[in-house]
Symmetry: C2
Subunit: 378 residues, 2 copies
């Protein structure tokens, strides 16, 4: 089974689209959110938890798996799907983002990026070719090219040089492909400069990629910039291929990005927040450790039908969290991932029924902004 | 539904019996192992995980729940079953064991035991009456009387005084009962002295308890003493009521104790070992962190049908454990609790088919003793 993408319907009032992504591991309806499975597990969840929620596609981090347990181990055990017991679709990132955010003493050359492992200080070289090979060994359904995710702020000159190198790396990535059953996505960089984004996209979309991602957002810029640059970059991408906004973000960012025409998303926010007791609800975020919940018999969200909300009270979850019980992380993660999944389902339904602009209006996005712990790290 | 116990079949070659325990929250076939749910969760497992394994009854710790979240919270939220989302049977201990093993500055008087919380140093008094009241508020199906679990070694004189006090406390516990739908078990103490055990049992079994437990074993004595005193004490108990060997233990101890005529067991060993990577298998224990498992494609136990063994390799579990992933604790605990459940199922089947002495012979018990990390603490 090969990879394909079909736009099923375009929203009339916004740039949103409903799509179908077909992979060798199932069909995914888009717009879709991919839970992050950094080290080969979506933290605290089993594959069947993800299936029960309805997730069809997850993200795994090449950088983390490359360092631990090592790519050869996963390859020799039959690839990442079999290794982690997940028969749904997997997108692997290139590892570039983690090299820049976690790796020490990184040095970028034309050849690639040399860095020291954050685990043991060992030295490694990732090249565009190596990154394709690693992801082919992992056997993910969608691979990403090596790029440089420039942090913000950065000088225009640096961004321009880096973006040109990212384009050259993208061309090398395509030449390095050996497997035909793995999709490869190019990544649009260009920092916060519209002309550099335009230039990068113009060159990148000439290349035979199966989809395109927008990277380098959610790296420290303010929300207005994130949203304006996100919308601008989406407009540079071809209609017929999937558009992936990397590492973004909060529920309101997802609504904004879907309205802008993106199809795929990932973010550690729901899983990480779950482990620190921050839970998403239809009326805003709550932190379960607050004393007000100590005798609260209600579920986290009365309109939620996840396993956690069907069976447990806020009082019980607060107790588990305060006592340091592992079960708290498990139940909270089920809820938060379900919340994100339901949000995406709602967005898809609204596009299908052509009422996205009414149901997920700009003003409603503003309303839902409770708390600001934006995070796009993985 | 009231509490009742029926001996269905007695083994011809040993003292083992097959029984049926009926509670207000389901029927439990005995001999049965109760996973320990210290703080209102069997660590790292959901109620549905326990149900899937087949567990019908768990133990919860009165001491821990009394201190956190507090008995009033649980009572006001509808009792422990509803609080933790568990509709199976629950046995609560008296808290006595934890007062003696965890509480600081404990002081025993005829009235009860005063101690300082291991959490915040606050001072508390547990009396036999208070302990009955707490467990009635928790709403467990089986409550235990307050006793003193004497550590080993102890002077004969101390054990004798303590045992007499435990008997007086047992009488007070019966008088304090207000609920008729909660079973109450007496506890036989007497240290390692056969005559004190005999004396304690003689007085205790005159009292109208619904069942009897043997306490004060697994407290530092050697295995020969544990087994000989365990067997001796079982012989002092009436046929028609359930016999519970508290806090014991390793798989080989359970086999021994079933052969000696016990019906109920609890121990933190399978759950605690799971979290440190020690997994039970049909051919002995393994520690998943060992390098030899780093590329091992086999399940933990090829003869096991638990969710963990059906889907994941040793290599994957080792990776999760080494990476500190929460999922390791979850999957390991599913496996270890399933192992204990399967062991008990095998023992019950052997009694039913009258071949216990062949299938679970004394010599086989010896064979299975791999590793010695005996633990009866909760």
């Amino acid at each position: 089974m090969g990879f394909s993408f079909t736009v099923l319907k375009k929203d009339s009032a916004t740039k949103a689209r409903l799509g179908r992504l077909t992979t060798g591991h199932g069909v995914v309806e888009t717009p879709a959110f991919m839970p992050v499975g950094t080290l080969g597990s979506v933290k605290a969840l089993t594959p069947r938890d993800l299936k029960e929620i309805g997730c069809g596609m997850i993200l795994a981090n090449t950088y983390h798996l490359y360092l631990r347990p090592g790519v050869e181990v996963i390859r020799d055990l039959g690839g990442l799907h079999r290794f982690m017991g997940w028969d749904g679709a997997i997108l692997t990132d290139s590892g570039g983002y983690q090299v820049f955010s976690l790796g020490a003493l990184r040095k970028i050359t034309e050849e690639g990026v040399r860095f020291q492992s954050h685990l043991d200080g060992s030295s490694h070289l990732l090249t565009p070719e190596k990154v394709v090979e690693i992801q082919e060994d992992l056997g993910s359904d969608v691979a990403m090219v090596l790029d440089e995710c420039v942090s913000h702020p950065a000088s225009r000159e640096y961004v321009q040089d880096s973006t040109q190198r990212t384009i050259r790396w993208a061309e090398r990535s395509l030449r390095a492909r050996k497997k035909s059953d793995q999709a490869l996505f190019g990544i649009i960089q260009g920092g916060m400069c519209e002309d550099l984004r335009t230039e990068c996209a113009r060159e990148m979309i000439q290349l035979p990629f199966d989809g395109f991602a927008v990277g380098g957002l959610g790296v420290g810029e303010d929300e207005a910039t994130l949203h304006s640059m996100g919308a601008f970059a989406a407009g540079l991408l071809p209609e017929g291929r999937p558009r992936y906004l990397m590492g973004v973000g909060r529920p309101q960012d997802l609504v904004f990005a879907v309205r802008s025409g993106y199809d795929l998303f990932d973010c550690v926010l729901p899983t990480r927040n779950a482990r620190t007791g921050t839970l998403f609800t239809s009326t805003g975020k709550i932190n379960i450790k607050r004393a007000e919940f100590s005798r609260d018999p209600r579920p986290v969200d009365e309109s939620c039908s996840c396993y956690c909300c069907r069976h447990f009270s806020r009082a019980y979850l607060r107790h588990l969290y305060q006592a340091g019980e592992i079960l708290a992380a498990h139940l909270h993660t089920i809820h938060n991932i379900n919340f994100y999944h339901q949000l995406m389902e709602g967005l898809r339904a609204a596009i299908r029924e052509d009422n996205l602009d009414q149901v997920y209006s700009e003003s409603r996005i503003e309303d839902s902004e409770k708390g600001r712990d934006f995070s796009s790290e993985s």
